[in-house]
């Protein structure tokens, strides 16, 4: 243990005496009374003592916030994963060879023009049957398919590069143009290109789930604080009899709610790290790089907000006899 030099001790004592001269003189008179420079006084901005109920509330709210954090992490992962391949998505429109060349030779040109005239379409490339057959041969790892035979069977293909796949009527316009000239749209590709709308729907669901969980958390904190309020009913009653203002009586409980929610938020954020660390290899393979730091303010302030809301519910109707003027 480090020994404090005597001159430092004397300096500290002198400083302390300068700060609290009356307290120090009282101490010298009443040597039996121990020092307690920071007594625990009720009301105002002083927090009530924490007990097992508060600890349990923190644990439960932490689990709920952890679930909320998990939901938004999943949203983040989904958004990044979709974003990693969505720019490469092309929509293919197929035109039967009969329609494309033999009977209606100019139908293919008309379809190409119709597709190009759609505002959100960036480019339209015509893929010949030979090119498609060569690609298919490569895709099937040189499966020794007779390419000439394949060329005869493959339809004429248009590859559409999209400028804004989030546009409302883009895919309807493509379908409309294709159907006018007897073409068919690859609907699987359309579904993939519209992944952003699934994400938007999932985002609504995530908000809804977060709100439901927030309400549950607020009620849990409210219930805990209500128990504390009941346990301290005498103290509240007495403070009101002594002329305390309502904010003075309620503030400790509101602060407690804030602290409970905020600490649960921090705990939940810490508990999300194992998920990130445990799945990092898998996620990096999917070109997903999750950031937990972006969730920290949300969990901290969200937790605090929920706790404060719960405290406001708990303290909304605290009635003491003899104290309503």
């Amino acid at each position: 243990m480090t020994r404090i030099p005597t001159f430092i001790k004397k300096f500290r004592e002198k400083k302390e005496q300068q700060r609290h001269p009356e307290y120090q003189s009282g101490r010298s008179r009443q040597s039996t009374v121990p020092d307690q420079l920071h007594p625990r006084l009720p009301g105002g901005f002083n927090l009530p003592p924490f007990g097992i109920h508060q600890l349990l509330a923190v644990v439960i709210v932490c689990i709920a916030l952890w679930a909320v954090g998990g939901i938004w992490l999943a949203m983040q992962a989904g958004s990044q994963w979709v974003g990693s391949w969505q720019d490469d998505i092309h929509i293919h429109v197929y035109l039967d060879r009969e329609s494309g060349s033999a009977k209606h030779g100019d139908e293919a040109d008309k379809l190409e023009k119709a597709l190009q005239s759609i505002k959100q379409v960036r480019a339209v490339r015509r893929i010949s049957a030979a090119e498609a057959a060569a690609w298919m041969q490569g895709w099937l790892h040189q499966a020794d398919i007779n390419e000439a035979d394949l060329v005869k069977r493959l339809p004429l293909t248009f590859e559409i590069s999209l400028g804004d796949e989030k546009s409302s009527f883009l895919f309807d316009d493509i379908r409309d143009a294709a159907s006018r000239f007897g073409g068919l749209v690859n609907e699987d590709e359309v579904s993939l290109a519209r992944a952003h709308s699934w994400l938007a729907q999932a985002s609504w669901l995530a908000w809804f789930a977060s709100l439901i969980l927030a309400l549950a958390m607020a009620l849990i904190i409210s219930n805990t604080l209500r128990m504390t309020l009941l346990a301290r009913a005498d103290e509240i009653h007495l403070m009101r009899l002594l002329g305390a203002k309502e904010w003075f009586v309620r503030m400790p409980f509101i602060l407690e709610g804030l602290v409970l929610g905020g600490s649960a938020g921090i705990a939940a954020w810490i508990l999300l790290w194992p998920i990130i660390l445990g799945s990092s290899a898998w996620l990096s393979g999917m070109e997903v790089d999750l950031s937990l730091w972006s969730l920290f303010p949300g969990l901290l302030f969200g937790g605090g907000l929920v706790g404060t809301f719960g405290a406001l519910i708990a303290t909304a109707n605290v009635v003491s006899a003899e104290t309503s003027a």
Binding site: Y23, Q30, R40, L41, E235, L238, A325
Partner: protein
């Protein structure tokens, strides 16, 4: 016994007006029971008033009205120049901050130390901790409990607990002290000592109104005696 504690604040009030003025005061509870009826009484600043009467005579109800615990049903009541019938919450809070209340069951907070109990009125009035520590020490020294500063009330005797309640009532230096049977649960000697403290506060300028059953105390500690019976004023020796 010295009481230098109370001399540092002088409560300035017009001398001619009584501190408490009642005119045909009536209190009827929502249950229909009439607790007080037709009480007309003035209590001047600096008086020591005993309020006597049988159980249910209305002593406690009258004391409760003085700090806004209940409102008069009819008649008028002025406490420290405030009309208690029309006073809003903020005014009632002001009156309570200027009134020291001692309850029969002393209403100490058993989960708080003696210091915290006595400091509560100062805390309510916004005193900073470092400022209130010497004040609480001083008040507890006055009631002879300076060495019990950090004890819990449970560790104190009945008399000591009542002295803590007195210390709490006087710590904010109020001009009016209301005591509701403060000696009710105490033996004769301890009751006399408690009354000594109240008399000392009175000598130093506080107006003390004390509801009591202990008529023998009136001989050793004289004061104005107001008698209630069945909610009506039946005697006043002023």
């Amino acid at each position: 016994m010295t009481c230098a504690v109370l001399v540092d604040t002088v409560w300035l009030m017009p001398e001619k007006k009584p501190l408490i003025h009642m005119q045909q005061l009536m209190l009827r509870y929502p249950t229909g029971k009439t607790a007080l009826s037709g009480i007309t009484l003035d209590i001047k600043k600096g008086q020591f008033v005993y309020m006597i009467g049988e159980s249910g005579a209305g002593k406690s109800s009258l004391l409760r009205m003085f700090y806004g615990g209940v409102r008069p049903s009819s008649g008028s009541l002025m406490v420290q120049h405030l009309d208690m019938r029309d006073a809003n919450d903020a005014k009632i809070r002001e009156i309570r901050q200027r009134t020291g209340i001692i309850f029969q069951d002393h209403r100490l907070l058993f989960s708080r130390t003696v210091f915290e109990n006595v400091a509560l009125p100062l805390r309510v009035q916004g005193w900073q901790t470092q400022r209130l520590i010497p004040r609480v020490r001083k008040v507890l020294e006055y009631v002879g409990l300076a060495d019990r500063l950090w004890s819990y009330p449970q560790a104190l005797s009945g008399g000591e607990q009542q002295r803590v309640a007195i210390a709490r009532a006087m710590t904010a230096n109020p001009p009016l002290i209301l005591a509701d049977e403060p000696t009710g649960n105490l033996d004769v000697d301890t009751a006399r000592r408690v009354l000594d403290y109240l008399m000392d506060l009175h000598r130093n300028g506080a107006t003390v109104i004390m509801a009591t059953h202990d008529l023998h105390l009136l001989e050793s500690h004289p004061g104005r005696v107001v008698q209630l019976h069945g909610g009506a004023l039946v005697g006043d020796d002023s």
